[in-house]
Symmetry: C2
Subunit: 234 residues, 2 copies
């Protein structure tokens, strides 16, 4: 987790490795993955890198830049096929890859979905726009006119965000308990007002994210196929 102060002591022999934006962001991501967003403070990050907190300002001018950088770093892990022609399997593959990334960096998901609310499209880090362009390419290559590709992209990515937000919801209230109702804390709910929710305890406990994603994609794709057929034949 922590990094030794440096390979070379400043007073002594050597040039110590200078920080880079990449190293800073990588350490920031590591920190967020390990301890959550609240742990990401300048002092803490500086300590992790063996530098003074202020040293970071050279590589990330403010906290927002740090957050945007983390998002960029994570989205860079996403790999989007670009050759093939079957848009559905390509979108499906990408969706599963996005899910993999979301599960690997759960605390970053809230940043991914939330940062764009503060940063205008055109000013976002290029790394966060690259998946958008690549997916537009996938769709246009498959024959969608660009404006339609954009609408499909929006629907798809919104669905994906929604899925990850659902999958990452906290469910277990008390890991000690054995019955689903108690584990999920659903016994707190007044039975008269929440009969259905309470009755679904075991279904909630048995949530299967991958299956649910596939079902969702199936719904999305058949919906798109028939809706688009209608729209295009008019």
């Amino acid at each position: 987790m922590s990094v030794p102060p440096d390979s070379s002591v400043p007073g002594k022999a050597g040039a110590r490795v200078p920080l880079t934006r990449e190293r800073v962001l990588a350490a920031a991501l590591q920190l967020v993955d390990d301890e959550g967003l609240d742990a990401l403070t300048r002092r803490r990050l500086g300590q992790e890198l063996g530098r003074d907190a202020m040293a970071l300002y050279r590589h990330a001018p403010d906290r927002a830049a740090l957050l945007d950088g983390i998002v960029e770093l994570v989205l860079d892990e996403l790999d989007i096929p670009d050759g093939g022609q079957d848009w559905q399997t390509q979108l499906s593959r990408t969706a599963h890859d996005f899910r993999r990334i979301g599960l690997a960096h759960p605390h970053v998901v809230s940043l991914i979905v939330t940062r764009p609310l503060s940063t205008p499209l055109g000013l976002r880090p290029l790394g966060t726009l690259r998946p958008l362009e690549r997916l537009l390419r996938v769709l246009t290559d498959a024959g969608f006119p660009p404006p339609l590709a954009l609408r499909v992209y929006r629907l798809y990515i919104g669905f994906l965000y929604g899925h990850m937000l659902t999958e990452l919801q906290e469910m277990v209230a008390d890991p000690e308990e054995t019955s689903d109702l108690l584990r999920l804390g659903l016994h707190r709910l007044p039975p008269r007002e929440f009969p259905l929710l309470r009755g679904l305890a075991s279904d909630l406990a048995a949530y299967d994210g991958e299956a649910e994603l596939d079902q969702g994609l199936a719904v999305l794709f058949t919906g798109l196929r028939t809706e688009l057929a209608v729209a295009l034949e008019v």
Copy 2:
């Protein structure tokens, strides 16, 4: 915006109106709506209510409780029909109502989608679980067995969250400019790498949230109808 210190000076005659959780949360929501989430600090909120910052602790034990309370307050505005039997129009109506609320309280949307990542289902404020129960009821009333209703609910609500996150994205980078490309800041993108995105400037600028929501719902519903028909006939 601000509230006069109080109707009665403490030293003088009268009992001043005591704070209530409702008054505190209402003021908090007001503040967030007017100035964004960052403006929501205890001292600021206390000032707004004409009380000391510490007085708020009696009604919201910590900042998380304040945020959860705001979410609860906003979700309480959501009204979900409960009599009728056509689940699609009911979900559609609710979706539009949710959109209305999201547009009315844009800064709260990030809380709505994000808070559940920190609070286990069973421990959430009842007000945030009520829409869930009501929608489950809509679906079961329409004939869905509860476990399936849950899956449909998840898909639906995920889609809804995704839509709002998309609609609330910041787009305009420079309101002064007249051409769409410049207004959105897309001229910053290297043309070789982002030809499609740059080409979609006018489509991006012409975004119509309500239409897009309806199209999305149409896709979702037809997808659901045919997928469910398949699944149920097996």
